[in-house]
């Protein structure tokens, strides 16, 4: 386990998903997702992304957000990976990187679209975000569908 990397990965993930680190760890998937990134794009590229994020840390929120957009999401190499991290957390699926990324930075053998694990599906942030449970999992209790969804504050 890459302890320092996972801390930065969680801070980055919390900022870009709008969920708290406790909630991200609470999915039980943080190690799995960082491992997925390492396996598909390689630890070097992951560290490049995390370092770029760590450099934004001391700034004010508004400024940081602007830099986040420009230097990470707007970066040809790091942007698609950052977007993939958001999707990983929300739906538990790794989406194959865009064609132009693969042409520019090289095709990774493991880079295919797949659900990371059965647990990744049930723990997707999409479900708490809409106040629902994943179909077929995390049963909310008989009759709970008659109650309004509880949407967490993000």
């Amino acid at each position: 386990m890459r302890h320092h990397a996972i801390d930065v990965f969680l801070r980055f993930s919390a900022e870009v998903t709008g969920f708290k680190i406790v909630e991200l760890r609470g999915t039980g998937e943080s190690g799995e997702y960082l491992g997925t990134l390492d396996r598909i794009v390689g630890p070097d590229v992951v560290d490049e992304l995390l370092s770029a994020y760590a450099e934004l840390q001391p700034r004010e929120e508004a400024e940081r957000e602007q830099l986040l957009r420009r230097q990470i999401f707007g970066n040809e190499k790091l942007g698609p990976i950052a977007r993939n991290i958001i999707k990983l957390w929300y739906v538990g699926i790794w989406y194959q990187l865009p064609r132009n990324w693969r042409e520019r930075w090289g095709v990774r053998e493991a880079d295919v679209t797949f659900t990371v694990s059965p647990n990744a599906y049930t723990e997707g942030l999409l479900w708490p975000a809409i106040g629902a449970n994943p179909a077929g999992a995390r049963a909310p209790g008989y009759g709970s569908w008659a109650l309004p969804p509880e949407i967490p504050q993000v």
């Binding site: 406790v22 760890r25 999915t27 039980g28 059965p118 049963a139 909310p140 209790g141 008989y142 009759g143």
Partner: protein
Amino acid sequence: MAATDIQTIDCLKDYLYRAMQLEHATIPAYLSAMYSIHPQTNSDAYHILRVVVVEEMLHLTIAANLMNAVGGKPDLTRADFVPEFPTYLPDGEKDFQVSLQCFSPSALDTFLKIERPGLAPDANTRRIPRRSRGTAKLAACPEDEELEFYSIGDFYQEIERGFEHLYRVHGAALFSGDPKRQITSEYYYSGGGELRPVVCMESARAAIGLITGQGEGDGGGIYDAERELAHFYRFEQLKLGKYYEPGDVPHDPKGPPCQVDWTAVYPTYTNPRLEKFDASSELYEYARDFNRDYAEFLALVTEAFNGKPQLLLDAVPKMFRLRNGAMQLMRNPLPASKASADSAAAGQPDGPANAAPTFEVAEFAR
């Protein structure tokens, strides 16, 4: 008929409050083990724990029905209702304590003790010989007496004797409670057995028989009256690594293997307390929120048990949210600075420990 200590209806109500405390005290312990199991692993253990804990919830509800039947008021919000863990069981089993801990061999050993079959074929041996002790403990009844039963079954036998005795004295007047306060199956579904109203001696006997049968088996066998394996023997399968089959005798299961992976478990901090959390952390807030939700849940169940049984239906989604909250905590590491002083203490997992719900509800008392 053997003599009973339960000579008054008030004394019976004290015993029934103890029974509710007792049934409830097992639930945080079983949930702490069950939710610590990694998803998609240990399905044998997970399912055994789930059956047992759901039946404990049924037993708690049956105890409330017995209380209501004799005109008592079930109260899950009393200051002493939720124990501080580790705790002795409220029926006075003094040779072990129950901890909140992750699924582990030591947790399983405790569960086997909780569910152990009764010692006592007759009234003279149902109590453990009285010892002198320095520690004070709340007495049930009469005021200065401490309960000391060997098993939950022995404790319920005493309650049944009390019912029989008071029924002889008072007749049907013993069952003075409003039948509308009884929780029946329309409010309580797929909860480990059928819930029947307690309105007479016969239904009281059946209710007590269901509780003891599900816990430790009927008449020394491994099954209860519904031909379901009793809790003790369900847990013993995990200990012995084999399932029981029909025809098996106690302690010698001959069925297929029952597998346990002790490593596929979140290593949660044993008997966690909020004080072990960094009070300025997000994690602390979540742990405290769980306790608040749990306190509110117990208050809602209390209302349901006091004439509003339909509220139990509202309690169901709250239970599932408690589950989600507990699992979330257990996947978060407890920062070392607060926990490390105890990491070498007995009963803690090796290495860094994770958080877990603390079930401390006192600050949210109503």
